[in-house]
């Protein structure tokens, strides 16, 4: 169906706030090219379950679209208009299944060699939007803390190599009480800036006791949901016509209740947890992948002021079919490999924080749990330096933030 034929009642299946937003912006939605519109609807349909930062960004994007002149419109969407869609895509129910449409669009773009054109159009759109509606600055400087190496008694792996040029490496940090000090520091920030969903604690294993002002998700707490999901994935793998694309479609149609999520009464958080497990590749089987992806998605979506990520050992690699099967046996762990995974995860967490507003004022700390090595990055920290002087976690935080 062409976008120009959109009617308010076609959004009746949307959650209430999303429906209201769609109807209010119907004029703009009707003139967007079909190579673009479902990507916007994919965000819009989730509006009721989005974090405040995402809602704000979507509101501002729609407001901007409403202000564009006819001339602007040609510049902003000319390249999207050039994308050729297939008849099956045009007939697809992109109003009610925008995420599935975008999946199929992606496949179509690759097959028809239009991926590079689309990528260019999308990048230019993002750049224009960024310039027209600059993202809001954070109310306080951001801080990310990454804790790696749980369960590793000794390692000669050269940690934080990618981060070292950007900050100071400390080799003589007292590990005494380190985790509690860091969690307390995060909680204090949360109380000082009590914005909703702004302060997070992600644990790749069993979460440590934490202040309830922090939003917490952990791999262990999600174990029942993971097992339910694995059972569904297993069932899907046995279904006729199975394939990764079909699997993604099935995963995208899941609701929190399907995995018994949402019992804490926070539909926004339970939807987020669902997406981490159902849309993240490998998050169901490797705790290190879960922690890295959860941190990345928290940064991308919630844009936190404070993020503390603690990696835990993942299971050792086994045949994928075994890892995807629900098992009551405790799997053998791979602490050394997990340290390497977490080291890269720390780098990605810093990189993703740098993509958020306020990057120049943001701080970052990574620590080898239970050991003396840490790295700090921030506006007050000299780059590419090494300190061998004795210090402790509190002092390190004072120097860094």
């Amino acid at each position: 169906m062409p976008a120009s034929e959109l009617k308010p009642e076609q959004f009746n299946a949307y959650p209430p706030e999303a429906r209201k937003l769609a109807v209010e912006n119907l004029r703009v939605l009707k003139i967007l090219p079909l190579s673009f519109l479902p990507s916007l609807l994919r965000e819009l349909i989730e509006y009721d379950y989005k974090f405040p930062a995402e809602r704000n960004a979507l509101d501002r994007e729609l407001s901007n679209l409403n202000k564009l002149s006819e001339e602007d419109w040609k510049n902003w969407f000319g390249k999207f208009e050039q994308i050729q869609l297939s008849a099956s895509l045009e007939k697809f129910d992109w109003i009610n299944q925008p995420a599935q449409f975008v999946e199929q669009l992606s496949s179509h773009l690759w097959t028809t060699h239009q991926q590079d054109t689309f990528r260019k159009a999308a990048t230019e759109y993002g750049d224009r939007l960024h310039e027209a509606v600059p993202p809001q600055e954070p109310v306080a400087p951001r801080l990310s803390i990454v804790i790696v190496g749980q369960g590793v008694s000794a390692s000669d792996y050269p940690l934080f190599r990618k981060l070292r040029p950007h900050g100071a490496l400390y080799t003589n940090v007292s590990p005494e009480g380190g985790l509690n000090i860091l969690l307390e520091f995060a909680a204090n920030r949360s109380k000082a800036h009590p914005e909703k969903y702004a302060h997070w604690y992600i644990d790749g294993g069993q979460e440590n006791p934490y202040d309830p002002s922090l939003v917490c998700i952990s791999y262990r707490a999600l174990e029942p949901a993971r097992n339910l999901l694995l059972a569904k994935m297993q069932k899907q793998s046995e279904a006729p016509g199975n394939g990764p694309e079909n699997l993604r479609t099935v995963m995208a149609s899941l609701r929190p209740g399907d995995l018994k999520l949402g019992q804490a009464g926070d539909p926004v958080l339970s939807r987020f947890e669902l997406k981490l497990l159902a849309e993240g590749s490998g998050t169901q089987i490797f705790s290190t992948t879960f922690a890295q992806w959860a941190a990345r998605e928290t940064q991308r979506r919630a844009q936190p002021l404070t993020l503390l990520v603690r990696f835990a050992p993942r299971q050792r690699q086994r045949p994928m079919s075994e890892m995807l099967a629900v098992s009551k046996e405790t799997p053998e762990l791979d602490p050394a490999g997990s340290l390497v995974d977490a080291d890269m995860g720390a780098y990605y967490t810093w990189l993703n924080q740098q993509r958020l507003t306020g990057a120049t004022q943001a701080s970052f700390l990574a620590w080898f749990e239970g050991h003396n090595t840490a790295i700090a990055i921030g506006p007050a920290v000299p780059r590419g330096t090494i300190s061998n002087s004795a210090t402790d976690m509190k002092q390190l935080l004072n120097w860094t933030i």
Binding site: L40, D116, S237, E245, G280, M320
Partner: protein
């Protein structure tokens, strides 16, 4: 980090791809062409030449391979193979970045558009079909050793002028082992799949290589196969074991080996991805040494090693770094290739951009057949 990644950091390939290699391996910059032909330089007539292709897969980035911080992962390529090779620093894959379809594109010299997850043959003629038809070679002279059931149709195309019975024989070592061991958990590590494969396990059908043929052609009993497999640690090691057996017993002139251990990266564990690269590095040297030690191959074989494509760069916020190859950014499209063998200039780096599709017509020129429908161009530096 928005929907269309507005904060994409400049993702240009920041390395001077020529310089980092030259510095590391003491290589010379290649320029110009040979004044004599490959035949004159190598002394090997076309009809006696053999070609082995290894796809360094699935999907490896510069920063874990030839960039300075990645070179520790490929000690064998760096120390043993690069000094003997002509090295091309920019091989660009402009097609679909899925492993089966990209490998099919490499093997046809045409950017294939078949569904990556469907059990379909390539649509354009494969290098194996050109080779066999033009040179009137028997089926036993062209082989593919591939990791998973999804590659079982790679040997011959659906093209009306070629196709059924005119391409390469395909061996799927994991499929063989699975048939031979029937669920014995001792072999599970060799049957590992990447993250996506459990959801794509097409039934192998067609002219696939079965256990009985393993006995008759490779002179390998099921018991010996199983016994040796216990000493191996990964599916790619199993593939190379079969390759060595194939070289010894059948000595095909055109042999294509598709590695795949690296693709565990999709599960997001960086350490496993790097382990896969290190293993593949070791296996490449093992194949090269086998080429040197087998009388049927020594002194007359050209070896090509190249990834099917890269993986997403860390700098592109639309992706998640090494984990996938979905953004289509420059890092995921740009890889490298090395060529080794008689008549190939040694220790030389070429910095001009090649296309992935250039491989097939170049093999054709080396072996003396025409890849008439390939979209690629000859790599003249090798001819």
């Amino acid at each position: 980090m928005g929907r269309f990644s507005p904060d994409i950091v400049d993702h240009r390939l920041s390395w001077n791809r020529r310089e980092f290699l030259r510095d590391a391996a003491g290589l010379a910059l290649g320029s110009g062409l040979f004044s004599s032909s490959l035949w004159a330089r190598s002394g090997v007539p076309q009809k006696e030449r053999k070609v082995v292709v290894i796809t360094f897969g699935g999907g490896a980035r510069d920063q874990e391979t030839f960039a300075p911080e990645g070179q520790e992962n490929i000690p064998n390529l760096m120390r043993e193979l690069i000094p003997q090779s002509s090295f091309f620093t920019q091989v660009v894959n402009r097609g679909i970045l899925g492993h089966y379809v990209a490998t099919a594109s490499l093997a046809t010299g045409v950017y294939e558009t078949i569904n990556n997850f469907a059990s379909l043959p390539p649509e354009s003629p494969t290098v194996f079909e050109y080779f066999r038809k033009d040179l009137k070679r028997p089926p036993s002279d062209a082989w593919v050793v591939a990791p998973s059931n999804g590659f079982n149709r790679i040997g011959e195309s659906s093209h009306r002028l070629y196709g059924a019975g005119q391409g390469a024989r395909v061996i799927l070592p994991k499929h063989l082992l699975s048939s031979a061991t029937k669920g014995n958990p001792d072999y599970d590590r060799l049957l590992r799949d990447n993250y996506e494969t459990p959801f794509f396990a097409p039934t192998v059908a067609g002219n696939e290589f079965e256990l009985e043929q393993m006995r008759s052609l490779l002179k390998l009993s099921v018991d010996d196969f199983k016994t040796h497999a216990l000493t191996l640690s990964s599916p790619d090691e199993l593939s190379v074991y079969i390759v060595r057996r194939l070289m010894k017993q059948a000595a095909p002139s055109l042999l294509w080996i598709t590695m795949h251990d690296i693709d565990i990266a999709h599960a997001g564990a960086y350490s496993l991805y790097v382990d896969g690269i290190r293993r593949t590095d070791r296996l490449c040297l093992e194949v090269w040494r086998a080429i040197q030690s087998e009388p049927e191959y020594a002194g007359k074989t050209t070896l090509f090693i190249l990834p099917d494509f890269g993986r997403d760069s860390d700098e592109d916020s639309a992706g998640n770094g090494f984990q996938h190859h979905r953004t289509g950014d420059a890092m995921s499209r740009t890889t490298w290739m090395m060529a080794l063998g008689p008549g190939i200039r040694e220790g030389v780096v070429y910095d001009r951009a090649l296309d992935s599709t250039d491989l097939v017509p170049t093999i054709g020129s080396i072996m003396g057949f025409s890849a008439a429908q390939s979209q690629g161009s000859l790599i003249k530096e090798l001819l």
